[in-house]
Symmetry: C2
Subunit: 382 residues, 2 copies
């Protein structure tokens, strides 16, 4: 039997998105009246370790609503991997602060951390509820139909492919490579297909990292499109690998970090290789973080669902649930799924949603992504 | 005494902008009733050589209006430098087609071409009027207060600095370098200062290519900001050079082209150098063409002025003017200036608009740019 209201804390893990602050606003709104306090952990779970905690229920509602409309993370986030010692200390601090509920926002790595935190609390005999809130632009979480943050970034890159395409088409300057975010998953790069309205609209070649591809194949694809149309718009994901499963000679500026190794300069490297092999001038664009924090490109549905996931997490915790992540169905409704179903697993783009030639997506993908991303308006031509 | 209406042609030179098609629409609207035909030269003046000409006055007005709202160039453009032989042939084709008016849209290089075309026509005894229409995102034209295309790209990069800044601030991930367009001129990178609302808002360091800067200086600047704020948002123009006036080890993928040498990979190269010198993790973003063709970021004032320049060019030609470029005053009013005043000259950011330390802009620049670019909205914080 519960006596009085519990204290809760919210911490984010991993990179921010255009709508992460909407999830925060949802948790705050859902926690009002349900919890005695909702502490913000500054810069992820490390904020609990540092006891850098402020009560978000004291923030005026108007300010919460204003912050909900901004990209980035108003309470910070963290990529730091907690050690076993950190975990034990975390439980000690929670016990000391009498915080009984932890909301953890993030992707499959953050859900794994949430799972480990629960195990540590159990070992220490500390009664703790942990609820996960999905968040990743990469859209690579299992169970949930899609993840908050994905649609806004997908929309940014679809618009970028359309706009850079309009530019490249205007000059006899053959090849443009647009490097998208997405790490090892092709969900974002695939969504650039939504920019097309008519046959032969850019992007002409879409490479998803689920399918390794050789430079020879890319060069042949590029030459084929160039012969037909006179210009080529290529979209490629930062995590694309060659046919050996190795990076395309990408430079390493932080040895040991696979993500950074892949993300550091793929588009530029690929453009250089294309020029060497085809003789066509190729340039690369890499909007990078701008595509992840794209305030003006945030989609209303994405923002609303991010909010709903946060709110549902607060309700679930109030109902005594624990060890579960909030998930979204195809219509944006929320449900709960055990951490074990999502932690560490990576949901890649289904192989059958990549075209047989490996340089495009199928109609099935478009039917999946279009309702999420919404209309990408086309441009009139003469 | 003129007998009947003249035939005109319009050709663009150089890279497209977010509002170039508005200038085209302005020329079309201004030409209706004033000229017998307004031919579109496909892919710049080369389109005249190839006699690839269609009459734009036949295009329905609704379609012209729709195209006016799109980025890129609906009739193409060209970076090709015409030879003396090309020029002579150009005059022959114009004579054969009885085209007596040429509108040429572009920057200082295009105005030089326009001037040469007039000289060739004069030498050949062919009565020709040539009117220039300003267009360059780089804002580096003399006489005119600003150029159509600049404000929209400046707005894109200011928003990009704000949004990437919100992202970088969210994680303990120290340094982000945003590479902007602008070639040798600092007008665009300077405008990222408009993203700031409060003290210490990003961007924290702005380097204008008019001021050469050493890696030592950049590294010291970055370390200073990092010690104070814990993260650093740097904006740098693609044409930035080091203290010797040389590129920062930028890779060359098209030998002989200075622009491409500079533009190919500056931000990434700089981020690597910063990491080497400071030990801070640095990443780079390069939106590139996306910032030039930014449909959703086009500013209404910029689009209107682009249209007005096109319209004023048609009126000027109808009044018998020639050898002049349309220019804009501070309020967006149009006037004419001789080609000689603008051809080949490059207007750089005034030295006194760069801060004494060389890593920021002054209030005078903000007062110049703010009315052009308009409000860059800020983000609420907790």
């Amino acid at each position: 039997v519960r006596v009085g209201k519990l204290k809760a804390v919210i911490a984010h893990g991993g990179g921010p998105t255009a709508v992460l602050n909407a999830s925060l606003a949802g948790v705050i709104a859902g926690s009002r009246g349900r919890f005695a306090a909702l502490c913000a952990a500054r810069f992820g779970l490390s904020g609990i370790l540092n006891q850098d905690l402020t009560d978000l229920l004291c923030v005026p509602e108007a300010q919460v609503i204003a912050v909900a409309g901004t990209p980035g993370s108003a309470i910070g986030s963290s990529r730091r991997k907690l050690s076993e010692d950190d975990m034990a200390r975390l439980v000690q601090v929670l016990r000391k602060q009498d915080i009984r509920v932890v909301f953890h926002t993030g992707g499959n790595g953050s859900m794994q951390t949430a799972l480990e935190l629960l195990r540590h609390a159990s070992t220490a005999g500390f009664e703790l509820q942990v609820i996960g809130i999905p968040k990743t632009i990469d859209n690579d979480l299992m169970v949930t139909h899609h993840t908050p943050g994905y649609a806004s970034t997908a929309y940014f890159f679809a618009c970028a492919a359309r706009d850079a395409g309009a530019d490249v088409r205007s000059l006899p300057s053959p090849v443009c490579v647009l490097e998208t975010l997405g790490r090892n998953a092709g969900w974002i790069v695939a969504a650039t297909a939504l920019a097309r309205k008519y046959t032969d609209d850019p992007p002409h070649l879409i490479y998803c990292p689920e399918r390794h591809v050789s430079l020879d194949q890319i060069a042949a694809d590029v030459e084929g499109v160039y012969r037909r149309l006179g210009y080529v718009m290529v979209t490629v994901c930062e995590g694309q690998l060659d046919e050996r499963g190795l990076p395309f000679g990408a430079q390493v500026d932080r040895p040991g970090s696979a993500v950074h190794q892949l993300a550091s300069n793929l588009g530029h490297t690929l453009a250089q290789h294309i020029t060497e092999r085809t003789g066509l001038r190729a340039r690369a664009e890499k909007p990078g973080l701008v595509g992840r924090s794209c305030g003006p490109f945030a989609r209303e549905r994405d923002r609303r669902e991010a909010y709903d996931c946060g709110f549902a997490a607060a309700v679930a915790a109030d109902e005594g649930r624990s060890g579960m992540m909030v998930a979204l169905d195809a219509n944006g409704g929320t449900f709960l799924t055990p951490f074990e179903m999502v932690a560490r697993h990576e949901r890649l783009l289904p192989a059958e949603w990549i075209s047989p030639a490996g340089n495009d997506v199928t109609q099935e993908f478009l039917e999946y992504a279009s309702p999420l991303v919404g209309e990408v308006s086309g441009y009139a031509v003469l």
